[in-house]
Every structure is written in structure tokens, then in C-alpha cells.
């Protein structure tokens, strides 16, 4: 199958290793990967702030570029939700409504794509460490992804998954929320970090780099040894 891998703006610039691991994993599974280089962002920041015209401006080229894809895999649950759930709303009474609907049907978050679409859970990865998994809210509640990342982690050799209390509680990132209400975002992050620390894990793993950017930012500032990793980085560790 030809998989169109959409690497969102912040993953491209800040977490390239996440995308790189995804490419390696998908290619190893025998799929042809293509990456649309001309699209940068899904338009979520403007959409979430209420600027829907401006969001459509960014989203239209995405719709056009991904129109003929067989399957679109996104390197972030949050951007995945944007394409899958919010594009149909954003374009609800626009000429692109149909295209948005069509695209929605073939958009996948990475871990869900592996487990539900490709039916693979064992990627032959090794990662001898204790990890705890943070459910990114958009992946969890907009896309309904809970078991896929765990099924993948279960098969990683040497990895011990320790669930934290309130794994489903938001970490406090929330996109522009983190900058508009930094004090609330920080407090939420501190609560999240406390739950993760309580597990005694070495790593907080998630399928969303945006949450991890915020959580890692807090941990680093504090000088805590707990590290964050994207699920793809673990699965790519052969």
C-alpha cells in the first residue's frame, strides 16, 4: 500500500526523529511511503482560536494534496483529529465539504493505523526500560484510541509498561492554551508529571509529540531525570 505520511509542522522542525522512525517502520513492513513536502500545517492553531477563515486558508491545500491518497497517516493524534473530525466541521457548508468528508475516512493516527488497519502489533522492537503511557486527549477522545498504542508496547521486548493514575487526564498543553493560560497549563502539567513520577518509570511515552513537548519542558526545567519519548521512537528501536 502507498502510505501518505503527513508530518505536521512542529514534528518536522522539533521532533524529526518521530517522522523518521515512522518512515522506517512503514517501509520495513513493505509499504511505499510518500511525504507531501509542500504542506506544512493542518491549520489547527487558527481553528482552535476561532479563526476559521484563516484555518481554512491553511487547510485547503492539505485537502487538495491528500485528495488522491490511499491512506493518510499522521504523526500526531491531535493533528489527526483535526483532519478526521474537525475538517468536516470546518468545511461543513463550503464547496470542499465532500472532499473533507472523503479525506476523513482515510485518515489514521500512526499507532491505530498499525494495529487496526495493518493488523500488526509486533514490530520486533526492543526497549529494556520501564515506561508509562500518556493518552493524548485528541487521540483518546476525538479518535477513540486507547488500546492500539498499548498493544504495540506490549510486544516490545524488555519493556515494562506501568500505568499511571489518571493516564487519561490532560497534560495541559492544549495548543495556544499553553501560551494564553500558562499558569493553568503549567499546573495541569505538574499534576501529570506527579502521576508519571509516582510510577517509577524511566520514560513517559505518548503518541502525541505536542503533549510531550510540554511535559518534557516542565521536567527539564525541574531537572528531573524522567524523559519523554514518542511511541514511534520506541517501536523503531530494533
Amino acid at each position: 500500500m502507498t502510505v501518505t505520511l503527513f508530518v505536521p509542522c512542529f514534528v518536522d522542525a522539533l521532533f524529526p526523529q518521530v517522522g523518521i522512525n515512522m518512515v522506517h517502520i512503514l517501509e520495513k513492513l513493505g509499504h511505499r511511503v510518500e511525504c507531501p513536502e509542500e504542506i506544512a500545517c493542518c491549520g489547527q492553531p487558527a481553528f482552535n482560536s476561532g479563526y476559521w477563515d484563516e484555518a481554512r486558508c491553511v487547510a485547503e491545500p492539505v485537502l487538495k494534496r491528500l485528495k488522491d491518497s490511499e491512506a493518510v497517516v499522521i504523526a500526531s493524534g491531535s493533528c489527526g483529529a483535526m483532519l478526521k473530525v474537525f475538517y468536516p466541521q470546518l468545511f461543513a457548508d463550503k464547496p470542499e465539504a465532500h472532499a473533507a468528508h472523503e479525506l476523513s475516512g482515510k485518515v489514521w493516527e500512526f499507532s491505530d493505523f498499525l494495529v487496526k488497519k495493518l493488523g500488526v502489533t509486533d514490530l520486533g522492537a526492543k526497549f529494556p526500560a520501564k515506561v508509562t503511557f500518556h493518552d493524548g486527549c485528541h487521540g483518546l477522545r476525538e479518535l477513540g484510541i486507547k488500546s492500539s498504542p498499548r498493544k504495540l508496547l506490549e510486544k516490545v521486548q524488555g519493556l515494562e509498561l506501568i500505568e499511571m493514575q489518571d493516564a487519561e487526564t490532560c497534560c495541559g498543553f492544549g495548543g495556544t492554551f499553553a501560551a494564553k493560560f500558562p499558569m493553568i497549563s503549567t499546573a495541569m502539567g505538574e499534576v501529570k508529571c506527579a502521576s508519571a513520577k509516582d510510577t517509577g518509570a524511566d520514560y513517559i511515552v505518548s503518541n502525541d509529540s505536542s503533549c510531550l513537548m510540554h511535559v518534557q519542558g516542565l521536567l527539564s526545567r525541574e531537572g528531573h531525570k524522567l524523559k519523554t519519548l514518542h511511541l514511534a521512537e520506541i517501536l523503531g528501536n530494533q
Binding site: A46, C137, F173
Partner: protein, 470 residues
């Protein structure tokens, strides 16, 4: 920025750093979650129950005109006086007039968020009446001259010691840490008030159209006394409280108890059908039911957010909301806090003044997931943001998004942007965290993720070339 928004930010700044508050609320709500989950499992199928509840409320709200008339007609047939009020002013005036007509001096009141919504106590006190809250939590916050902290647990931000101190100061009681003793102190003070009161005011949890009755749910028996002892009873409720049929309570009573407080059913559930009828020996001689609109019909006219009128004020969305759990109820600065408050306050009190409540959310969706009547809460926050920006865009924000879109749609410029960011990043450390730092909102508490030496797309081009070469 509205003054309400500034106040919100200031209070949030203080309270999010208050670790005592954080600990208190997290502990209380974690206990709630455990109890709730235990009760939820008693429902054969919680999700189907939610669906059924949502459909019932959908029917009630979509035919509100029919059900409200049915409700009022049935009530009036048994001698209840029904008052229709469009505005808080009208509702306050009517209630104050009823009390004045009765030449009453003392009013006892059970818990009613609708009364908070219209600031009824202040109006009654201004008119010279003594008003006493009879719900323990409400009584405590009344003594503290504070609004309720939470729509179901008004005094959840206080410890036993706080309450003991308060009672010592206000009621002259002896210090104690025992919940039973604290309750007894309040009880002794309140019993006198029930007897003295000429008028009792209650809210309503549900209004049953079919039978013309109100259903009241409580854990202390105080609402029963409030309704039974005084000669005149007044019930204030929002028009959205309607349920079509009596049998709907079979679902809604346990649902409210489970979602709201992690109980199977609430301690006392009482139905009121009218004032004392000929031949009956007790009950109020007069009963006034005051129906309040206060912008609800405007919400009803909005097909996108009409479902927010389904709310049964269980408070479950507040309990699971990580924003609420960190800023607490008072920071919202309005009667309805938490997710439902953030959705409806902009409708009830003005979009531009209250839009910050819709913005102060990470859109995590925990509220929507928990709401027993399936209100699409977090998506309504997005719609409020959209409506607010459309109505009055913030010039700077809009320009920024336009500029972002312009660059994002031009790969060449996007690439230059990335390179500039990479180039200037080493300089960031010189202003990091200072007033000159453009990313201060982030960097004050969080380290910045450095821009990668090689972006994904740069890597991809090489990777693609290598593959093609093979």
C-alpha cells in the same frame, strides 16, 4: 481584554500556585471518581443510559413550549401560582413582592443555583428580609459571605478546620474536628430559623410536565423542612428543568446521584404537586412557582448549542475538568463554573465579556465524555471561540494567523522560517524568561525544545534520493 477576563487571569495566577488548594481538590475529586465508578457499574449499561437520558432531554427541550404549558396548567389546576419571568429583574421583583405581601421577615432557603444566577439573596436582603441558607454547604459559604464554590458541593474548598473556625467565629461554638459535631452545630442554628421563617424558597431538580410536579433532590432533609414548615413556598427554576413524564425520573434520579455525587440515589427525593389541598393537614398554604428564562430561549434558538439546555446541573463535568480542578470554582467569577459554565455563561452574560472562559480550556473533552446527558461541551467551547472571533476579531491574533497561513502555504518561505529559527535559537538564551523574551509565556516554567539540526523534511529529501538511487 474584558475586566472579567483580567480578573480571571489574576485569580488563576494565584490559585494555580496554591498547592494546598490543589491537594484538597484533587483528593476530594479522586474520592468522588472512585465512588462514581462503583455506582456506575450498577447501571446495566451506563452508555445506553446516557443515550436514553440525552434523548429524553432532547424531546423535552425540542418541545419546550408544549411541555412548559402542560407543566404550568397542571400546577395551576391545583392552586399553584405560576409566574413567567424573562429576566432576572422580573424574577427578583416577583419574589420580593410575594415576601413583602406576606409581611414576612425571615426567609429560609434550600439550595438553588438559579437563585445564585439572579443574585436573589442580595435582592431579598436589600429589601430588608433575613435570608438563611439551609443546605449545610450553602450555609457555610453564606456565613463566609462567599458564593458557592461548586454547583453541587458549595463548600468543597474548605477543610473541617476551616469550618470549625468559621462556626466559632460566627456562631460562638466550641472547636471540633468531628463532621457529626459540626453538622449538629449548624443544625441547632438552623432549626430555629425553620420555625421563624414565614417563607421557604427552593429550587427544583426536575419539573415533570405530565403531572405538574417538581422533583427535589437533597441529602440533608433541609429542602423538605424548607418546603413544609413556612406557610408560603416559592420555587424558582429555569425553564430547561422540564422532563416530559413522571417515569423519566426512574432514570434521571439515579443518574443525577451517580454522576453528581457517586451515590446510588440521593438521600431525599421529594415530589411537590401543589399547596395544601382541601382536607389535607399540612403543607404550605400558598405555592408560587417562578419560571425563569434569562437567555435560555436564545440558547434554544441556537441549533448548534441547544443541547446545553439538557444540563441537569449534576456537576460531573466540573469534577473531571482539569481546568476546574486547578483553578477552582471561584476563579470563574460567575454562577456556573467548569465546562458547562464556560459554555453557557457567554450566552447568559455576554460573549465578549465571557469568551475567555471558552478559551481557557485545553479542549481535552473529559467533560463531554462524562456528561450524563451527552452535551457536546468541549465542541461548544470551540464554537464560542469561533463566534467571538467572528464578531470581534483580535487584530493581532488574526494578523498572526493570516501571516502564518501565508508562510505555511509557501514551502520556500517555510523553509527560510525554519532556518531563521535555527539561526536565532542560540540567541534565545540571552533573553530567556525576561520581559524581552517573546516566548515568555512558555519559558517562564518550561524549557524550549530546540529546533532540530536537520528537519524531517530535509532528511526526507535525502532519504528519497537514496531510495531512487537504489
Amino acid at each position: 481584554m474584558s475586566s472579567e477576563s483580567q480578573e480571571f487571569l489574576q485569580q488563576a495566577e494565584v490559585i494555580t500556585k496554591d498547592l494546598r488548594h490543589r491537594g484538597l481538590i484533587q483528593t476530594a475529586l479522586r474520592k468522588y471518581e472512585v465512588a462514581r465508578d462503583k455506582r456506575k457499574s450498577a447501571f446495566g449499561d451506563w452508555q445506553s443510559s446516557r443515550q436514553a437520558a440525552a434523548e429524553t432531554k432532547w424531546e423535552a427541550i425540542n418541545h419546550l413550549d408544549k411541555y412548559l404549558t402542560e407543566f404550568a396548567d397542571k400546577l395551576e389546576a391545583r392552586g399553584t401560582k405560576v409566574h413567567w419571568c424573562s429576566t432576572p429583574d422580573q424574577a427578583r421583583d416577583i419574589i420580593v413582592k410575594i415576601i413583602a405581601d406576606k409581611k414576612a421577615r425571615c426567609v429560609i432557603k434550600s439550595k438553588a443555583m438559579t437563585a445564585e444566577e439572579i443574585h436573589l439573596n442580595a435582592a431579598m436582603e436589600k429589601a430588608g428580609f433575613e435570608v438563611v441558607e439551609s443546605d449545610l454547604g450553602e450555609y457555610i459559604v453564606q456565613l463566609r459571605k462567599e458564593p458557592p464554590y461548586h454547583i453541587v458541593f458549595p463548600a468543597m474548598h474548605l477543610t473541617r478546620d476551616d469550618i470549625s473556625d468559621l462556626f466559632q467565629k460566627e456562631l460562638g461554638s466550641a472547636p471540633t474536628r468531628e463532621p457529626e459535631e459540626l453538622t449538629m452545630i449548624a443544625r441547632r442554628a438552623l432549626r430555629k430559623k425553620y420555625i421563624q421563617a414565614d417563607v421557604g424558597i427552593t429550587g427544583a431538580n426536575f419539573a415533570i410536565a405530565e403531572t405538574g410536579m417538581i422533583s427535589l433532590t437533597e441529602n440533608e432533609g433541609n429542602a423538605r423542612l424548607t418546603a413544609a414548615l413556612p406557610k408560603t413556598m416559592i420555587t424558582l427554576l429555569g425553564i430547561e428543568k422540564i422532563l416530559p413524564k413522571m417515569e423519566d425520573l426512574a432514570l434521571f434520579l439515579p443518574m443525577l446521584a451517580t454522576a453528581g455525587a457517586g451515590q446510588t440515589v440521593t438521600g431525599y427525593n421529594t415530589l411537590y404537586g401543589g399547596p395544601k389541598q382541601p382536607g389535607e393537614v399540612d403543607g404550605p398554604e400558598e405555592w408560587h412557582v417562578v419560571l425563569l428564562d434569562n437567555q435560555r430561549s436564545i440558547l434554544l434558538a441556537d441549533p448548534e448549542q441547544r443541547d446545553s439546555l439538557h444540563c441537569i446541573r449534576c456537576g460531573a463535568c466540573l469534577n473531571v475538568c482539569p481546568i476546574f480542578r486547578n483553578v477552582g470554582g471561584h476563579t470563574y467569577g460567575t454562577t456556573y463554573s467548569g465546562p458547562i459554565g464556560s459554555v453557557i455563561t457567554p450566552h447568559l452574560r455576554g460573549l465578549q465579556s465571557w469568551k475567555h472562559l471558552s478559551s481557557s480550556s485545553s479542549l481535552c473533552g473529559a467533560c463531554t465524555e462524562t456528561c450524563p446527558v451527552k452535551i457536546d461541551l468541549h465542541h461548544h467551547l470551540l464554537q464560542n471561540r469561533r463566534n467571538a472571533s467572528q464578531e470581534e476579531p483580535n487584530a493581532m491574533e488574526q494578523t498572526a494567523y493570516k501571516a502564518f497561513g501565508f508562510v505555511a502555504n509557501r514551502p520556500g518561505m517555510w523553509q527560510v522560517g525554519k532556518e531563521l529559527a535555527r539561526m536565532f535559537q542560540p540567541l534565545h538564551k540571552f533573553v530567556l524568561g525576561t520581559k524581552l523574551d517573546p516566548a515568555r509565556a512558555w519559558t517562564a516554567t518550561r524549557d524550549v525544545q530546540p529546533v532540530a539540526k536537520e528537519s524531517f523534511k530535509e532528511w526526507w529529501q535525502k532519504h528519497k534520493a537514496e531510495k531512487q538511487a537504489k
